[in-house]
Symmetry: C2
Subunit: 366 residues, 2 copies
Amino acid sequence: MKSAVSSLVRSNNSLISRTLLYHSSKPISQSPFFLSNIPKNLFNQRYQKLQFSPNSTSIMASLSKSEQAREPPALPLPSPPLTKFKIGLCQLSVTPDKERNIKHVRKAIEEAAQKGAQLVLLPEIWNSPYSNDSFPVYAEDINAGGDASPSTAMLSEVASRLKITIVGGSIPERCGDKLFNTCCVFGTDGKLKAKHRKIHLFDIDIPGKITFMESKTLTAGETPTVVDTDVGRIGIGICYDIRFTELAMIYAARGAHLICYPGAFNMTTGPLHWELSQRARAMDNQLYVATCSPARDPGAGYVAWGHSTLVGPFGEVLASTEHEEDIIIAEIDYSILEQRRASLPFTKQRRGDLYKLVDIQRLNSH
Amino acid sequence: MKSAVSSLVRSNNSLISRTLLYHSSKPISQSPFFLSNIPKNLFNQRYQKLQFSPNSTSIMASLSKSEQAREPPALPLPSPPLTKFKIGLCQLSVTPDKERNIKHVRKAIEEAAQKGAQLVLLPEIWNSPYSNDSFPVYAEDINAGGDASPSTAMLSEVASRLKITIVGGSIPERCGDKLFNTCCVFGTDGKLKAKHRKIHLFDIDIPGKITFMESKTLTAGETPTVVDTDVGRIGIGICYDIRFTELAMIYAARGAHLICYPGAFNMTTGPLHWELSQRARAMDNQLYVATCSPARDPGAGYVAWGHSTLVGPFGEVLASTEHEEDIIIAEIDYSILEQRRASLPFTKQRRGDLYKLVDIQRLNSH
């Protein structure tokens, strides 16, 4: 494991409001409190304060211009339940033996927790080989739970027993006659807090290098996923989802502290784009990005690049690994988010008079 | 000069339409042809073709979903007037002697053209020291032209004489009682084809590292700038404009082949974000990105990072330099754009049912 924590600037001049938005156990997308009452109240408070400052007109005009750049307006960063904690990224080997995979993952989570991780992130498709042939065979009925989903039953049990949050990588999910690539988030009580179905399916064709068509077997998810946990507000994307900047921008606008991307980039796009994508999403949205890949198996049908990584809100790589099995333990410090945003106040500087990003589901929930 | 041209995939399976959109001498934002007639016609043609294919319904649904992600819908990549050409990035020293700066830039352009460059890119603020004190002193009345703007008069003369396109970095512009940070684009006939006024002013405050407030003296521009030239459709951003992903996304949606960012990142944000921003904009939007900085002068009030760079549409650094004066000559090959977009068809895969980027000016022109 390499670790390169950058010592960057510190500042107390935060311009980002702390709010009382936080304490919901529901996924944020299900919270009416989140979707309706909060933004207006907060923005009103902001403006009322500004009306007493000497040059309030120009500041108001400028703020209003930047807030138009997100429809609905971006939410302020919520106060997380804790500021500093350790995340564990479990880059693990995956075999065709599902029972072994489940045991192996359980052991890795226990090891990460034992080393202090309060949040554990797992790889994309960790209970099954990554192939269109395997997805239907290894898929589980997550909604039915229990014996119908031994992989998520294990995650629930271990989260509850160890009192940690688990962003459970992904497994193939069967729901009726459809298959999804699905990430389950379990809270410290072992309850399923959110389920993200990969929104952007991995359909690429680089002749002579890599061709894969997830859409042959999988159905795309219909919902961006942001979830409030004991370790902050987390946006979820699975692998190819990281390609689409809009998803990360929506998560930032919904107040995410961290985006977790379980992912299995391949040997062609991995070296080109895996780290670059993570750093770009973190820098542009000024939040933490964590990724977790399966370990590389050169004998597998699909060879994963590896290189699970934690990136800080200046786009700096805080911890990363190579392609072998590894458990990375790294520190997240949410107080840095406000420092970074005060130093480079992109949020206040956007030109909502020229462009606007619409979060369609949040807009329709108003 | 370092040069690291990646040998990446080649493919003829292009999914991007070539169109007859191209031959306009006006900036794209002024062309009614561009703004109204083309998109509908092209998309109709596209759909009519698809109706004859066996599984047209699902393809149409998917295309329609992805096209909703841009409002108005993204334009197809136009056929550029030429496919391969050389670009010259002139990373130059800037002094308080304006007359010397103008002569120095003229000489550099001549050298770049002599080495084969058909497009020359200059640094941000190349005729004046970069400081709020200097901007009013060095500012020129570009609209008045002639003696009122010796810097742009030189660019016009040299572009016409050498029959090259010049993206003229930027200079402080005076217009009435306002000052702007302005980039002029000159065509091979020496005519001013477009003028970009920096949209996002550089107001940052990283205590103990770098504090600069352009807005103390400068006014922000009001218009994204895309211009059709003899060397392709070019989007323009100045320095801090590169921070705002939406601007690059709008340029891509307007059919840009290349985005040019004259820029003078500093010694704090340069090492952190200069290359990362360029590579991210190129990778995410699948187009070329070229940047040009002043050479570093450790004795200046504002110390530029340097590192002018050309990035290809996979986010790969094609040519870059260190911080000293240098003229980089590098090859641009627009045929690669279509290959890259066929390999990774982000454009067709966006989820317009979940997010939408609105280009407000183009929308209002419809």
